[in-house]
Each structure stands twice: as structure tokens, then as C-alpha cells.
Symmetry: C2
Subunit: 431 residues, 2 copies
């Protein structure tokens, strides 16, 4: 090969980072790949816009076909985002035998399987390391580094925005709404933060991670999702007292042949490796039967970290080109997907209730738990400001989700229960 030519779809912050890295690290790329790398064309919306990177205006185009159909372009890097249109572009690019590198988690969570199959049919590579936890080479580690192990549990802090918000709430004792505004001002949260704070972004990443880690086709719909918008300072305070830190955790758990995948606010024991992952950082904790506990930590987003992952994927594609082995590294899922029923999903739970401060209420409540064979690790009754009410805070031992949900229904029906203030999954042991 005399030269490898890249077509870039998108020139936002990540695209700009890709251009910078390819320019600045030309000698390193050359050393690894054995030939120069050039960016031949870049798809943009507006050719005349001011850009944060010095790029020849002749390289810019507003017509994706000019990239997808350019016979000289070897690799298409997709950093434009979006789903349906982008999917069409990438399918066409793969059919035109261009390798693809993408950072698009939405696309991969929804159409990853179709795109990977198309890539394989056309002898092309499709790499997407940057789609999960930008700066952390987690997908490679799952596929190669832990290739011989059986992964049974993955827990991820895979959304920087929510981790930033929860860290601030916890450190400052501030309310959610207040910290969200701060995060928006600092650029850590978008004007419309829905996808982040409702857990959807994290769910997409967990679908991708669990598909790879369990070798099982997990769809986005399989991931149960709960966001962070209803978390209060009180919850964080109680958590802290009990030795827990609140994190938005994606959990993928395999037992035997069955799996569960969810994203939800979780009270994490302070001694858990994920508990000290703060601010906008991401981390993925992986438990393998043989290796035991491992964790991968780093920036989850950001222009340069994400661009690093993309260019590392590009290096992978180019090394494969040199060796003539593109399109052969993907391993199709080995197992049929079997999701756990709610009666098979076990966890500990934190529950906070306001109840009428009357004789017998405490006993009535605890008896509902024991009817469902759920016992307590900790239970506290505390006075509250409002007259005639008491607060009950409890942490259960391991309980089936089905039982726990049945209990919640019964508690809501009780006259004596004024309000279920909050309920969270708990991981690890309290103090």
C-alpha cells in the first residue's frame, strides 16, 4: 500500500479530534502501519463554517455519496451521529468494501448486528471501540484480553454526565436540579439532558457491552432502564451513613445460561472499586470466572479521548489491511439469548418510606416482607418533621425482584404508608 485514504463523515468536536490526531501522530501511524495516512474527504453540513482545525476547504463536501462512492477511499470514519440516515450510509460504504470505524452507540445498539453481518459478508472491518466509554479500550479487552475467560458480571459507570451530577450532589449536598444547571453551564450536560439523565445513553452502551461480554445478542429493549432525576439529597445522605455511594450503574449479570441487563441508580458499597470513580469519569468493572475482579477506568467522552479510540480502531483496520485479513476478526454471538424472569433476578434493595407513626405499623410492614421471605440487613425507624409521621429506612438481604415488586405493591396499598419516598438497588455490604 502506498497510502491509506480516509473518508470522514462529520466534523464536530470528535471529528476535529480525529483530524488533529492523524495529523500530529503521522510518524507513529507510519511506523505502525508502514505507509502514510491521509484524510481525503470530509462530510460537513456547511462548508463555509469556521472550524477549530486547519483543514483544506477542498476536502469538505456536503454530499455523503462523494465519500461512500469514492473508489480511492479505504476507510470511512463515522462521527456524524444519528441513526437511520447514518445506517444507510454505512451499509452502502460496507457494500462498497470500505472498512468502517464508528463512535455511534445509538446506531450500534440498534443496528450493530446488521452492520457487523454486512461488514463480514463484504470482507470489511467494522470497529466501534469509541461507542462505549470513549477513552477506555474496553471492547478490545473483552474480546481479546479476556478471550479465554467466562465473564459473569459487568458493572459500568458508562455515562459521564450523570456521574458528574451524582458526584457533585454527593460532595456538595446539593439538589439534582441545581447541579444539573451547573453541569449544563460547564458543558457536561446538554441543553436537553434527557438521554443522559434518563439512563438511555447508558442503556445503549450496556447493550453493546453485554452483547460482546456474554457473546449473546442483547437488544436495547432488553435493558431495563431507570434514570437519576428523582434522586434526592436525603437518599444520598442516608446512603453515605450506611457506607454507600450513589452511582448510575449499568449491570449485566449472567447466571448459568440466563442474563439480566439494567441501568439504574444503585447504592454501591464504598469499598467497591467503582465507588471511587468520580466526576465525568467512566469505568467498567468486569468479573470473570477465572480472572476475578478487574476494572477499566478513563474518560468516557470528550473530543480527544473519543478520537483516540477511533484512531486506534483505524490502526487496527490498517494493520489488518497490511496483513490482508480484514473482515475476519468479528466473532458472532455464541449463545442464544435467555433473559432472566423477575423471579430470577436477585439483589439487595434500599427502601425509604414515610408511614403513620402509630402502634403496629412497623410490625405490619415487616410482616409483609417476611410473607415474601425477604429479610433485612438493616432497618431504621426515624422521626420526621411532619407530625404524626415516621420514616423507615431499610436495606434488604438478597431478594428476588418479583418478591420485592410485590412487596412494593402491598406497601402502596397500606393505609399506614403515606409515601414510598425512594427505592434503589444495592450492591455490596453496608458498614
Amino acid at each position: 500500500m502506498e497510502m491509506i485514504s480516509i473518508g470522514l463523515l462529520g466534523l464536530g468536536t470528535v471529528g476535529t479530534g480525529v483530524v488533529k490526531i492523524i495529523e500530529n501522530h503521522q510518524d507513529k501511524l507510519m511506523h505502525q502501519v508502514g505507509c502514510p495516512v491521509q484524510i481525503k474527504k470530509v462530510l460537513v453540513k456547511d462548508i463555509n463554517k469556521q472550524r477549530a482545525v486547519d483543514i483544506n476547504v477542498n476536502l469538505l463536501t456536503t454530499d455523503a455519496e462523494e465519500i461512500i462512492n469514492d473508489a480511492d477511499i479505504d476507510v470511512v470514519i463515522e462521527v456524524m451521529g444519528g441513526v437511520e440516515e447514518t445506517r444507510d450510509y454505512l451499509l452502502k460504504a460496507l457494500r462498497n468494501r470500505k472498512h468502517v470505524v464508528t463512535a455511534n452507540k445509538d446506531l450500534m445498539a440498534l443496528y450493530g448486528s446488521e452492520l457487523l453481518t454486512t461488514a463480514s459478508e463484504n470482507g470489511c472491518d467494522l470497529f466501534y471501540e469509541a461507542s462505549v466509554a470513549g477513552g477506555i479500550p474496553i471492547l478490545r479487552s473483552l474480546v481479546d484480553g479476556l478471550a479465554s475467560d467466562r465473564i459473569t458480571k459487568m458493572m459500568g459507570i458508562v455515562n459521564g454526565t450523570t456521574n458528574f451530577i451524582l458526584t457533585k450532589m454527593s460532595k456538595q449536598g446539593s439538589a439534582y436540579e441545581e447541579v444539573l444547571k451547573e453541569a449544563q453551564q460547564l458543558g457536561y450536560a446538554e441543553a436537553d439532558p434527557t438521554s443522559d439523565v434518563e439512563g438511555l445513553d447508558a442503556a445503549r452502551k450496556m447493550a453493546i457491552l453485554s452483547t460482546l461480554g456474554f457473546s449473546m445478542k442483547i437488544d436495547l429493549d432488553d435493558v431495563k432502564v431507570k434514570g437519576i432525576t428523582s434522586i434526592t439529597e436525603e437518599d444520598l445522605g442516608y446512603g453515605k451513613k450506611l457506607g454507600y455511594t450513589m452511582k448510575l450503574i449499568g449491570i449485566a449479570h449472567r447466571e448459568g445460561e440466563k442474563v439480566e441487563v439494567s441501568v439504574q441508580p444503585t447504592l454501591l458499597s464504598e469499598s467497591h472499586p467503582l465507588a471511587s470513580v468520580n466526576d465525568e469519569y467512566n469505568a467498567v468493572y468486569v468479573y470473570g470466572e477465572a480472572v476475578g475482579e478487574t476494572m477499566f477506568y478513563g474518560p468516557g467522552a470528550g473530543s480527544l479521548p473519543t478520537a483516540t479510540a477511533i484512531v486506534s480502531d483505524l490502526v487496527g483496520v490498517m494493520k489488518n489491511m497490511r496483513l490482508g485479513v480484514n473482515g475476519k476478526s468479528a466473532v458472532t454471538p455464541q449463545y442464544e439469548k435467555i433473559l432472566k424472569e423477575p423471579s430470577e433476578i436477585y439483589s439487595k434493595y434500599f427502601l425509604r418510606l414515610h408511614v403513620k407513626d402509630e402502634v403496629g405499623v412497623f410490625a405490619t410492614i415487616t410482616s409483609i416482607f417476611s410473607e415474601h421471605h425477604v429479610s433485612f440487613e438493616k432497618i431504621l425507624q426515624l422521626p420526621v418533621k411532619e407530625k404524626g409521621l415516621a420514616e423507615i429506612v431499610l436495606v434488604t438481604h438478597q431478594a428476588a425482584l418479583q418478591d420485592y415488586e410485590d412487596i412494593l405493591v402491598k406497601l402502596r396499598d397500606l393505609q399506614a404508608v403515606k409515601e414510598i419516598k425512594s427505592s434503589y438497588r444495592v450492591e455490596g455490604s453496608s458498614k
Copy 2:
């Protein structure tokens, strides 16, 4: 390929783990590689010894040549340890066109370059992920995951024994000797702990890591080493008060074209990601110009974690066999090694002195620092039990190692300085 045959050199705890994983994960290996994998021969010292794994006694041999010269054996896995004899075996195996997977850090730190060259000349793979931080796929992450980035700093807790000892000393407030005994009883330290506690084991791993991370041939002799044997409870106590945790840290730092590599007890700011890596766990912190801060955490040793890394390397070899691309993935060092001079190595330092409690002593001492343009982040004078003495504890701002060493020489010569109690490198900011 109908079948891939393995020759195993050594059947200690790690070798036993390798046998177990290959047996237990036969279907996963088959799925990834496309053909069965068998262990054909195993080199042992004593054929009749009781073993923790059920293995056909006919597979065992006491003659390495039976493995090295067996034309049917595709891959040699080396878990016997040792250096000179092992080197001969592996060189022969490579010349006989057998791929090699090794967990031998001593060997790789001393003869890695020779072995890799021989592998490449013979079209063979030589993989050694298990030689550094057993359960953490760090070498792959450096070579592939961060392929496009320029790594400027690596900091590693790469020895489980010393991390276990320092964690216990810190949590229990116990003395080094006492905790060492406990570690020996629990099997976390060997009867002769020299290689661990003097930092030699960590130094070998840092030589391997920095060679890969900086693409520069770093020899074991280039790594400055100091162990943990002289660390006292007092030092840990002062560290804690100032917001630091004591860790044995391997530091590899590149500035411009020059590098420094060392292993030494280091007071680490509690907010540093490595500060919460406790007990026998390992972690490698990597700073890349583009990606920023990342960290890889996991078990550093142990039979199964190390065996996982070995079998993952084996999968890598077998995938390459299937694709016909063995011996082509190694990248030779790109840069000439240039080591920093002591005048170019900058760090903060913690120093604890006992001085005569006389007028002017404090001023004399601080004036020595200012002569060398070293200023203080923190300086405390405290009374000590012994009459007529005072204790001075100080943390410097960034200082050149040369200056700091010159200062130490001058302090030792001072009449007023009774004893230099301790001196450590400091990373991060104090409280």
C-alpha cells in the same frame, strides 16, 4: 487446522490453571478458533508427584527436548520460570517455528528483545501479557487500545505482595516486619521476599511496560529501584495527615524525547486513582496526550488470573494461525532510548528529619533548600520525645532530583541534623 497442539513447560500453580481453563472452556475456544485445542505434552520435574489437576500421566515428561523438538506441537506455553535455561528452550522452540506464550517477567525484562527478534525472524508469535500484572490486559491496551496516542506517563502498582503489605501497615498501623510475617503466613509473600520487597519484581515489569508504552528499548538496568523495607508506621501516619497514601509505585515518565523509569515508595495524593488500589490488587495508570487519564485494575497474580492472560494470548496466537499472519504483529521500538539526567528528573519530595532543637537550625536547613532553588509546599516542626531534638517534616514543590540529592548530602553533613529519618517521592497535591 484440525487440531492445535500445545506443549506446556511447567506445571506449577499457573500451569495447572492453564490446564484447567483449556479443559473447562473448550467450547468457547472452539467457537473462537474453529478447531479443538489439546495439551500434548507437559514438562515437569517429577512425574510421580501428586497434582492439583487431573492430567494423564502419559502427557508428562522430564525432558524439555521432547516438547521443543516435537513437530506436532504448534505452541509452547512457558510457565516454568527461571532465566538462562528457559531462554535456551524458548529460543530453540522459536527456531523450530513454534509460537511461544510466556508469563516470565524476569526473562522478558532481560532477554525480551532477543526473543522477540528471534520470533519475528521465524514467523512466530511471542506473547507475554501474563508477565505484567497477570489479570490485567495492559500490554494489549498499550499496543492496540492506545495505539494512536502518545503515552507520556505510566504509573503502576505492579507488585501484589508489597501492595498487600503497605495496605495492611496503613490500615492496622502495624510495623513492616509484623505485616511481612502475616503476608508470608497467608501466602501473599514468599519465604524469601527479597525480589518483591526490594522492588526488583516491579522493576522488571516497569522495564517491560515502558519498552512497550514508549516504543523504546528500556533495559532492567535503566530502572532505578528502591524497596519498601525501611518504611515505618510514622511515615505512613504523617502521609495520612497530609492526605497521602504510601504505595510502591513504578513510574515511567517521558518528556520530549527523554525518559525516566523508577520503582520507589511514593506518597500518593489520596485523590489519585491509584490511591484506592488496595490489598494484593495491581493497577496501571496511563496518561496519554490525547486520551488523558486511564487506569487498568485487576489481580496482579494468582493461578487463574495469570492463566487467563496466558490462554487469552494463546487465543491470539491461534487466531493468527487461522489467518496465517503469525509473527507479524510485533512492532519494534520506534525511538532511541535517551534517559533523563538527575538534573532533568522533577518531582516533589517528602522529607523527615530529626534535628537539634536549637535557635537557627530551622533557618539553616531552609536556607540549604533555597540555595538549590527548592521551595516548600508544606513544612512542619514538631517536638519529639527525645530531649533536645525536634522533628521537621516537609514536602517540597517540584525539584530536580540532582538538587534534592545535593541537599540531602549537605543536610547529612550538618552538625545540627541528627538523622534523616525518611525521604519519599510525592505524587499529587497534599490536603
